[in-house]
């Protein structure tokens, strides 16, 4: 029995039996959740590099005061596109890639519920990306309205703005389909005995994220559609001269936008909650609390959106409401941090690369959470809104939060995906270079913001020069460090050391990767093999370890 489940050659034979198209058609027509997961992950890495090049151009321009490298108009296009590419092209698809790879394995499902729709959700993304990147070539260039696309600026831009609107529509459709797929898979396709409250936490965080996506992506689509009709079809939703209100745009956008930031962090919480217990050799402290905290974060994330709008002239009562609500939402977030720390407490910890990134995540994400609280205090935010302080805040939560979790998860599951161990030395180098350069880049931005440097400007007053120079040096260091990541991943994909037998931590008694395709009918064998796959990718105590076949 175990030889059938383990033998990698058998897995290959199985593939050949199934008559899959080969070469590029394999990837275009694939309905296999692992193939699609890999596609998502590679897509997001390419977009990460594209967004990174834009960021480095921005930082190069800001190295010194004055205008040296790009025109101000192009600079504004770069900040806009950097934000959009990173949010919709890099972070979100990466998490969907993790979901595709891991969720069916973790819950023992043969594949995603809607395998063809899964293919469609992925292949919409390159189309959207081409529209997005192509808008740089449109007359007037790409949109320069900022990633938030505030009216009235976004009503005035050229054709690049229309391309962007359609790209957002397409990416939204892709996200909604992906979310429906994940919800259906988790609710309907769990292996017998896998109750909801036994699921690995990553599945829980994605289940809740998927509901958030279904709830708010249509709101974003509505917002950009209103922009489109204002631009071309004579409506005046956001045009005061026609009886509309530009602030309405901000309300609609942030009603999407704040849940969106949780869409980008909850799966990261899930990944970290898988990794911390493994490398602490203890079960996750407070599993149920984590599930409850995630759900309440999701609910509360809908009632805080106007903390992005404190300077739009709200009545004092509104300011107080959103300030109190925002500060209360930090409670369940704090509970999560305490749970991770309690999990590590007195554990026999080791610090392999995934754990380094996970611990780095906790440390640096917490700093981002605290600056968020500071931004939430209305009188302070009125001072620092639209300064580099906010830029520092959201890079602490997004880069050191979401992105570090993506790195952690990649190193953690790469051996499972490829059957090979990644190079531990490269991984550690990547971690230390990333966390050091990250802080060199973004920590000085707190000082810049407190001193009053506005965001989204190509030039600045002389007193900001030193911290900007430091930030630019750090940014180039950070950007180059990501090539280490690429090298580590390529080396692992191409071969190298076999997956190790880390007894006592992760069960690795199967020598190859999970077979590409498992039987569709849940047989006893399938249940065993998916359990093994799940065990090797998840914490060891959650399964019946003693009775698992050798």
């Amino acid at each position: 029995m175990s030889s059938i489940a383990h033998d990698p050659t058998h897995g290959h034979e199985h593939d050949h039996h199934a008559h899959h198209p080969s070469g590029v058609m394999r990837w275009i027509t694939t309905t296999n959740h692992k193939d699609i997961g890999s596609l998502y992950l590679w897509f997001s890495f390419i977009m990460f590099l594209a967004g990174g090049v834009m960021a480095l151009t921005i930082r190069a321009e800001l190295f010194q005061p004055g205008l040296q490298i790009v025109q101000p108009e192009f600079f504004n296009q770069l900040t806009t596109m950097h934000g959009l590419v990173m949010v919709f092209g890099a972070i979100m698809p990466a998490f969907v890639g993790f979901a595709n790879w891991q969720i069916p394995l973790m819950i023992g499902a043969p594949d995603m519920a809607f395998a063809r729709m899964n293919n469609w959700s992925f292949w919409l993304l390159p189309v959207a990306a081409i529209l997005l990147m192509g808008s740089f070539l449109a007359p007037g260039g790409a949109s320069a309205a900022g990633w938030t696309l505030y009216a009235p600026l976004s009503v005035q831009m050229g054709m690049g703005m229309d391309m962007l609107i359609f790209a957002v529509h397409i990416m939204g459709a892709s996200s909604i389909m992906g979310a429906i797929n994940i919800v259906t898979t988790i609710l309907n396709m769990r292996a017998p005995g896998m109750t909801l409250m036994k699921m690995p936490l990553f599945c829980w965080t994605w289940l809740i994220t998927a509901y958030l996506l279904i709830a708010v992506m249509p709101v974003l689509a509505g917002a950009v559609t209103m922009l489109l009709t204002d631009r071309h079809f004579g409506t005046s939703f956001f045009n005061a001269a026609g009886g509309g209100d530009p602030v309405l745009y901000q309300h609609v956008f942030w009603f999407f936008g704040h849940p969106e930031v949780y869409i980008m962090i909850l799966p990261a919480f899930g990944i970290v909650s898988q990794i911390i217990p493994t490398f602490s050799r203890k079960p996750l402290f407070g599993y149920a609390s984590m599930v409850y905290a995630t759900s309440s974060i999701a609910i509360l994330s809908f009632i805080v959106w106007a903390h992005h709008m404190f300077t739009t002239g709200m009545p004092a009562a509104g300011q107080l409401f959103f300030m109190y609500a925002t500060m209360l939402i930090a409670v369940p977030t704090g509970v999560k941090v305490f749970n991770w720390v309690a999990t590590m407490w007195k554990g026999s910890m080791t610090f392999e690369t995934p754990m380094l990134f996970a611990v780095g995540f906790i440390f640096v994400f917490t700093m981002g959470g605290f600056t968020g609280l500071i931004c939430a205090i209305t009188p302070i935010d009125i001072q620092i809104q639209d300064t580099y302080y906010v830029v520092a805040h959201f890079h602490y939560v997004l880069v050191a939060g979401s992105l570090f979790a993506i790195f952690a998860g990649t190193y953690y599951w790469l051996p499972k995906w490829t059957g090979h161990m990644y190079d531990e030395g490269l991984g550690r180098l990547h971690f230390w270079a990333s966390i050091i350069f990250f802080n060199i880049t973004f920590f000085p931005m707190h000082f810049l913001g407190l001193a009053g440097m506005p965001r989204r400007i190509p030039d600045y007053a002389l007193q900001f020069a030193d911290f900007n120079a430091i930030a630019t040096v750090g940014a180039f260091g950070f950007g180059l460090s990501q090539l280490i990541f690429l090298a580590a991943v390529l080396k692992c994909v191409k071969g190298g050391q076999r997956r190790p037998q880390r007894s006592g931590t992760v069960r690795t008694d199967s020598s190859g990767p999970c077979p590409r395709q498992r039987p569709t009918i849940p047989s006893k064998l399938h249940r065993l093999s998916s359990k093994r796959c799940w065990l090797t990718g998840g914490p060891p105590w959650t399964g019946d370890q003693t009775s698992a076949p050798r």
């Binding site: 149920a288 009562a317 509970v335």
Partner: protein, 70 residues
Amino acid sequence: MSDGDDTPQRAGFLSTVRAVLWSFAGVRKRRDYNQDASSLNPVHVIIAGIFAAVVFVLSIVLVVRFVVSQ
């Protein structure tokens, strides 16, 4: 938080609301959680969750009105 209730089969209105309220703080004792897991009805939990969110919003509104009226 220990209640003397020894019959875990059917959760009443109050225990559903209590579980939801604890979830807003993000904490739950293991024993209480085990009781939840065996007795709570998911549909009731969702209804209680929406209800609690409305109550939460209204109570912040009350606090705000109290503060601005000073």
